[in-house]
């Protein structure tokens, strides 16, 4: 045995800091470049991002697949009096997302050759964006996470707003404001969680592992109402970012107006932050509510899958088509996450990588043709396969990967997601599978209209095939498409341990909750006749809500929740999903709304006496703090 040299230890313990801040340091250095030296700025930016990629390979090489915990951890006090640390770490869930980021950024930089205006600023923002994205995936401190989450908006805002298309200012503003409105509420939830954890355990900290383990071990128990509101605040931030179905309207604008590189990173990495947040924060921190809301969220995901596919089908603009197909694909990811099965979750994480690669590639390919023709309208093209055979081949492979052809990467993810979902709910899986078929329809139809047939439009007659630079940016993606399609276990194995751990945590919470809910329901039923609140509920029984509350115990959700202990969640058709969700909501908001009914002008109590009179009778864990 020989001892490792000192510098290796330094790298080993600081590798995450190095990966995260290499691009930011590069951005600082670009400031000193003369703006006239366009070529050397381009090369330098490329070198920096490649460097970050190489550093991130070190993560993969040294990653211990059997360890479910966070690795390569760094923790340095940042604002000690507030319990804020500079704390980073990687587990099987975030490992490949970081790699995806470092892989896509150099490709995006290669795709920036058409940018000539204010080049220096462009690359500075690109590099800052990369730092921000890696930081989001690596940070283990809520405050640090929030900082990266917000800071990363600014470079993206500039990339869309300065170098974007026709309606770029509108799109950039919409992007920032939409994302902001969700994330500021998350900030409130983070601070609230900080105080709840601090009051319960005595240590005030923003550290994610600490708060998470306190929740998992039962040292900190959230009351249902608090958990609901915290979940909603976090979920809104992530759902907008994903974007889940009703929150998706910013996405097509941002995608269409962003420059090619911006679209690649937006689709490839930024959207993954939303789904990553769901996996990392929503599930383990709020397992009970996640389980209760799973039917509703899955339904939104399924609606998103079908809606995105249908809208994509009628798009005349290639970029918009790909944007809507993202809405559809992200629906799969969310569906997988909220199936709470190992296949579904791994499939979802795998699908995050797939979508990053396939959709990133699609945007790159659309960018290639846009650079040549300055249009993205499908009707302008036709017969390109005759003029650009290599381009057509690349496009075909990426299209097939996006559809999910067996043997290519997309298949593995979608298959796992559907497998996981099918075990939970047949109908959801069946409808989602319809989405796969629809994706084949719109992708192949677009491919057919753009590539096949004769060249009708004269302006397409003299198009040049892919140049060396363009091949260089597409070949790594093709390699990844085949590799991830053939040897999926190479990517899935490192995830196993972490995903299992995550699932155990959420599953444990779920059983506990099902038990609690039964006591909760019976306690409430008994108390309702006695307490003034109960009386008020009773007098409302003429109203539909009152009726639905009263008949709740007989309703399917009551049954399904009770049978939830057994571990199967065989809720029925779509309307049952809706009804169950409404019931759950009514059940949970009744205690949660109490403080609002008693709202003093001075404000709402943070931890309202959430029906503890009702719950404490039973000595219920939910109410005990």
């Amino acid at each position: 045995m020989f001892s490792r040299p000192k510098h290796m230890e330094f790298v080993g313990s600081n590798i995450l800091t190095i990966v995260t801040f290499t691009p930011a340091a590069g951005a600082l250095l670009i400031l000193f470049y003369n703006r006239a030296h366009a070529r050397s700025i381009r090369t330098f930016a490329l070198i920096i991002t490649l460097l970050a990629f190489v550093f991130s390979l070190y993560l993969v090489a040294r990653f211990d697949s059997s360890n479910p915990d966070f690795q390569f951890g760094v923790r340095v006090p940042w604002m000690p009096s507030l319990g804020i640390d500079y704390s980073m770490g990687v587990d099987g869930i975030s490992l490949f997302l970081i790699l995806l980021t470092t892989l896509l950024t150099p490709l995006a930089i290669l795709a920036s050759s058409s940018i000539n205006d204010r080049l220096r600023e462009y690359f500075i923002f690109m590099l800052l964006l990369e730092s921000g994205m890696i930081g989001v995936f690596a940070s283990l401190d809520f405050f640090l996470f929030y900082v990266f989450w917000e800071v990363m908006l600014i470079p993206m805002y500039f990339l869309i707003g300065v170098w974007g298309g026709e309606r770029r200012i509108y799109a950039a503003m919409k992007f920032v404001l939409y994302t902001m409105i969700g994330s500021v509420l998350m900030l409130v939830a983070i601070i609230a969680l900080y105080f709840i954890h601090g009051n319960a355990t005595g240590t005030f900290t923003f550290s994610y592992p600490q708060i998470q383990s306190a929740l998992a071990s039962g040292r900190l128990v959230l009351s249902p109402a608090i958990e609901l509101w915290l979940f909603v605040a976090f979920f809104l931030a992530f759902a907008i970012k994903v974007p889940l179905f009703p929150f998706h309207t910013w996405l097509p604008d941002a995608h269409v107006e962003a420059p090619t590189a911006g679209s690649v990173l937006l689709a490839g990495v930024l959207l993954k932050m939303g789904t990553y947040g769901l996996v990392r924060f929503s599930l383990p921190l709020f397992p009970h509510i996640s389980h209760l809301f799973a039917p509703l969220i899955s339904m939104l995901a399924v609606v998103g899958i079908i809606y995105g596919a249908l809208v994509a089908m009628v798009q005349p603009d290639m970029k918009k088509l790909v944007a809507y197909s993202s809405v559809s694909h992200l629906g799969f990811i969310v569906l997988g996450i909220f199936s709470f099965t190992i296949q579904g979750l791994e499939g979802a994480i795998y699908q995050m990588l797939n979508h990053g690669i396939s959709t990133g590639a699609l945007f790159l390919l659309v960018g290639v043709i846009y650079d040549r023709r300055h249009t993205r309208l499908i009707e302008e093209f036709g017969g390109l396969a005759n003029r650009m055979p290599v381009y057509a081949t690349f496009f075909l492979i990426v299209t097939l990967s996006s559809i999910g052809l067996p043997g290519l990467n997309g298949f593995v993810g979608e298959f796992l997601v559907l497998l996981g979902t099918f075990g939970v709910n047949h109908i959801r899986a069946a409808v989602a599978a319809l989405g796969v078929i629809l994706s084949a329809v719109y992708m192949l139809w677009m491919y057919q209209r753009v590539m096949w047939g004769r060249v009708e439009n004269d302006r397409n007659a003299s198009l040049a095939d892919l140049a060396g630079r363009e091949r260089a940016m597409l070949v790594p993606i093709l390699i990844m498409i085949f590799w991830m399609g053939m040897y999926s276990s190479y990517f899935l194995r490192p995830m196993d341990a972490s995903v299992m751990k995550l699932l155990n945590q959420t599953q444990a919470g779920r059983v506990e909750y099902a038990r609690d809910l039964n006591t909760f329901l019976s306690a409430q039923r008994r108390a309702r006749s006695a307490s003034p609140i109960g009386r008020s509920l009773k007098t409302r029984s003429a109203s539909p809500i009152g009726r639905s509350l009263k008949t709740r115990s007989a309703s399917p959700i009551g049954r399904s929740l009770k049978s939830g202990c057994a571990g199967s969640q065989q809720a029925g058709g779509a309307d049952e999903v809706v009804r169950s969700a409404l019931h759950v909501f009514a059940e949970l908001t009744t205690p949660a709304l109490q403080p609002f009914l008693r709202l003093r002008p001075i404000g709402l109590a943070l931890r309202p006496a959430v029906a503890p009179p009702l719950l404490c009778e039973e000595g219920n864990v939910l109410a005990s703090k």
């Binding site: 940042w78 604002m79 000690p80 009096s81 507030l82 204010r118 600023e121 929030y146 900082v147 917000e150 800071v151 908006l153 600014i154 805002y157 500039f158 707003g161 300065v162 770029r168 200012i169 950039a172 503003m173 920032v176 404001l177 902001m180 409105i181 500021v184 509420l185 900030l187 409130v188 601070i191 609230a192 900080y194 105080f195 709202l599 003093r600 002008p601 001075i602 404000g603 709402l604 109590a605 943070l606 931890r607």
Partner: protein, 479 residues
């Protein structure tokens, strides 16, 4: 009443400012036209000297001069903010006064007197002293607002400021008179003692607290007492606007905290909900109306109203942590807002030309350095992480949540999103619109550069490493 021991050190900063102010004023006729800006540097040196004299002052904690004057950490921290504001304002005004052909060094004297008034307000332990400090500040500021004598807009600004200022002063006085009648004292601690005993006419006390609150709300420009602000800020000379948007506001809040948390804590249930509503209304109105302002000075005026709303959130928390967050925010806000106004001063031309947001079009490609600095201030005002504005807001919302003001915190963060719209629209103009001006005659002289460096460095420092200052504000929090 006997004048107890005379302690020069305890009032040294105020003394230094007053003496330098008088020297500048007296020296003016004897200084040639070309050397008048040297008096500006003299005034700047005066603020630095006052800042240095904070050290001996801080070593003389306690109550002095028959308990009129109090020296504590709260006072020292606020004095530091005030002196910083004065120093940056002097640096910003030098070039401005030359450009506008207003190079009368009385301006610096007035500024120093106003600052002395603010120092008095922060240090006073007695309502009479508060009133005197307030008037010294206000009278000097009325004159500064009307400093461009030949310009009707400036006259109008001064007149409006004067009328509403003295109107609110009268309310303040009436409140003092009533509390004097109810408790037999104007000393804050004596009032607090008297209120704890039961023989007090509580209605009289509440009325006087309400009058004092209204008057101070006028001074710090929170809704619904903010209507004068946009007009006054738009018409006043730009560096003065910058000063008014931070100085009197910080001093007003200093008094608000001191009076209400020292003298009136026992009747908190009577004013607490009023503050809650003032804070909510201010954040909503300030941010929403700022969205539609074409004039950048007016936009910043509404934004300053909104920021006063955030400080009011910290006030509504009525806790140590609230006071500490408010102090931090006042410092952060002063730095970034003064920076923004210094930038407006640089870009605007003689007689307030080019002060519309659209006049900033293309600054990013013509003068990238200036645009980057202004972007920093705008992002900080909006509250992007890594800047002073975010740290300040974070501490305020943390204090609010700790005091269980969940709705106030939610209103706060949601209105912050609104504020992103108008701050980013300045960035939109600078980077995403075609320039219709070369910005070739934009001069950046040494003093302005210095002012920008101080504010930008401070903004970044407070944003990235706020711990040290936060610890200071924590010890400085009252109670």
């Amino acid at each position: 009443m006997n004048l107890a021991t005379i302690n020069i050190a305890a009032i040294l900063p105020t003394l230094v400012l007053s003496v330098v102010g008088i020297v500048v004023m007296v020296a003016e006729p004897f200084v040639g036209e070309q050397k008048k800006s040297n008096l500006g540097w003299l005034a700047f040196a005066g603020t630095l000297a006052a800042m240095l004299s904070l050290v001996p002052m801080a070593n003389n904690r306690g109550q002095w001069y028959s308990n009129l004057w109090i020296v504590d950490d709260y006072d020292v921290f606020l004095d530091f903010i005030f002196l910083l504001i004065a120093a940056i304002t002097i640096l910003t005004s030098m070039d401005f006064l030359r450009r506008e052909e207003l190079n009368h060094p009385e301006f610096y004297s007035l500024l120093l007197f106003a600052t002395a008034g603010m120092l008095m307000m922060a240090a006073s332990n007695e309502l009479v002293m508060v009133f005197l400090g307030l008037e010294i500040l206000s009278i000097a500021t009325y004159v500064m607002a009307g400093f461009r004598r030949a310009d009707l807009k400036s006259n109008e600004s001064a007149l409006k400021y004067f009328l509403l200022g003295s109107f609110s002063s009268a309310f303040f006085l009436y409140g003092i008179a009533l509390i004097f009648g109810a408790t037999g004292s104007t000393n804050l601690l004596a009032i607090a003692d008297a209120l704890r005993s039961s023989k007090i006419q509580i209605s009289l006390v509440s009325l006087s607290a309400a009058l004092i609150l209204i008057a101070l709300c006028f001074k710090v420009a929170v809704a619904p007492f903010h209507v004068w602000t946009p007009d006054v800020y738009e018409g006043a000379p730009t560096p003065v606007t910058g000063f008014m948007s931070v100085g009197p506001k910080a001093a007003g809040f200093a008094v608000l905290f001191r009076v209400f948390l020292t003298a009136f804590p026992s009747i908190e249930d009577r004013w607490g909900s009023a503050i809650w509503m003032v804070a909510a209304l201010t954040m909503i109105l300030g941010n929403v109306i700022a969205v539609v302002q074409p004039n950048i000075k007016r936009m910043l005026a509404y934004s300053s109203i909104a920021h006063a709303g955030y400080v009011a959130v910290a006030f509504a928390a009525t806790s140590d942590r609230g006071v500490s967050a408010a102090l931090f925010y006042l410092l952060a806000y002063s730095l970034m807002n003064l920076g923004a106004f210094a930038m407006v001063t640089i870009i605007s031309r003689k007689e307030d030309k080019l002060v519309n947001v659209t006049d900033y079009a293309g600054l990013g490609s013509k003068r990238p350095g200036l645009a980057a600095v202004l972007s920093l201030f705008m992002l900080s005002l909006a509250g992007v992480p890594g800047t002073a504005g975010f740290a300040g807001k974070f501490f305020i919302f943390r204090a609010a949540l700790e005091s269980r003001l969940v709705w106030l915190a939610i209103i706060g963060v949601v209105t912050t999103v609104i504020s992103f719209y108008y701050y980013l629209s300045v960035i939109v103009q600078m980077y995403m619109r075609e320039p219709h001006d070369e910005f070739s005659d934009v001069r950046l002289c040494g003093s302005l550069k210095f002012a920008l460096v101080i504010s930008a460095a401070g903004t970044l420092y407070l944003g990235l490493l706020p711990t040290r200052v936060l610890d200071w504000t924590t010890t400085a929090a009252l109670r």
